[in-house]
Symmetry: C2
Subunit: 327 residues, 2 copies
Amino acid sequence: MTDDSRPSARGAAVDVPGLVEQARAGRARAVGRLISLVEDESPLLREVMAGLAPYAGRAHVVGITGAPGVGKSTSTSALVTALRATGKRVGVLAVDPSSPFSGGALLGDRVRMSDHATDPGVFIRSMASRGHLGGLAWSTPQALRVLDAAGFDVVVVETVGVGQSEVEVARTADTTVVLLAPGMGDGIQAAKAGILEIGDVYVVNKADRDGAATVRRDLRNMLSLTERPADSWRPPVLLMSAQLGEGVPEVVAKLDEHHEWAASTGSLQRRRVRRAKDEVEAIAVTALRRRWTGVSDRTELDDLAEQVVAGELDPYAAADRLLGQDV
Amino acid sequence: MTDDSRPSARGAAVDVPGLVEQARAGRARAVGRLISLVEDESPLLREVMAGLAPYAGRAHVVGITGAPGVGKSTSTSALVTALRATGKRVGVLAVDPSSPFSGGALLGDRVRMSDHATDPGVFIRSMASRGHLGGLAWSTPQALRVLDAAGFDVVVVETVGVGQSEVEVARTADTTVVLLAPGMGDGIQAAKAGILEIGDVYVVNKADRDGAATVRRDLRNMLSLTERPADSWRPPVLLMSAQLGEGVPEVVAKLDEHHEWAASTGSLQRRRVRRAKDEVEAIAVTALRRRWTGVSDRTELDDLAEQVVAGELDPYAAADRLLGQDV
């Protein structure tokens, strides 16, 4: 099912307990409206999150990331189909850190998963906005919590592989899938720069094209050189063609395998605690920022900033005073 | 001159007042070491910033941003040459929000401004790292403060036009230059998504190529439709070929004109106060984060996060408790 709830979520009075109940009963519109409250940074969020808390923590959160051009949207769509074939309900958050230059367009194909438009077991939401507060770190975990509490078995978070977003999605997910593809220039060279640390499952998409086996071999070699504790998960490298639907069930099986491994070793719990730490910290920072920048025309921070500009105070001393005010 | 100070800045004891004095006397190595202290998030930063405070606030900070492929590095280099021709000392910070996928390579040509390597009136530093704390928002204003206090007349901050970085550079600069170029696909469509708000001076680079005049005309039309207060600056759209050196002095003249306008209307002071607010806020948030995540193995935040994962507490209630601890 697709989500057409955005306009209606703004404005009128909102019955939060009612929305939570409807979302848990599988009503897509209610799920969409709750996510809109997240995106809009609604003052009601506090109430929403309190209402969801008892029901969260059950979904398997799968992050999917990769450089532009590896076929993320097609892969996500194929994985959703394969997950549905195993009877699971799937929520998808397609996160696009919006650029003033692109508005998403520069970054290529937006999610068009019309295959799933009529399937009530699938909910797809594109989160285009970083909002004003804390960006991805602030809104993604909360949107995810909505889908989780609404009872989706798997929640897929898809991000474009530019900037900090992959690192953030890796911190958000229970299982992180890194997508690669042959013919992406010197893909493996690029891979050196950090993706070796973030993936739980590596997938070489477009496996029907020349060079896929080479990408896999090179990546395996590099992963084998990465030092890991003896009892840690060894990330597999799978071949897939999302377009042709080949290799997709095998990827889904690996996602399950990693999830079971993580649950049995305590790794899952540690990741979730880390994710909750990030989330709580982001909310606390946002609350402080609101206090500092204030609702009044003129705040303590304005005075301090003017003294910094005048060279009377250095920024650290100003920060001390700001915290002295708050601590 | 180029900066080879990075390795030596780490490790050994640092004489901060001595470094500040040398930086102010025009010694490139001292300037580079101070910026390394910023990049390394050194505990000495507090002392550095206190030492620099009385001397900061004099440089004209020029932000240069644009999508990949518009010729940012070449343009920056050409502008540096033109600024030098007017007798000004110029510092350049080339900021590259490092991607795990790219390590910078994906984003194209890194700054190679060998033209200026032997000129003691030019200091160029590539800031590749976002660091662990607050990214650009944290390190760029402080690196900028180093160059400012060291006596550079103009400090250019060049950023890649991906993600949030243009918005951040626009908040950091006294004058923001947005670069465009013909033949960048549907450049003006892409431009709709936000650059109309951030530029003080628009430059269509590669003006020797087909389509430059069209890009300028379309951009002018769109800018004329943007609502602005009657007494506000009207951003000009200039043609330039950085490669051929054509139109560059005209851009420099516009930078000066904007700077004078901003100084005379109070706009400059307002921007600088806003910049100082961002900076003070980022430092304060960083200090709080350090306190929350702590040096000990187990912090209050760990306990709260575990309760969130267990569904006993929602993240807002957890943030309240965290702040109750600190406030």
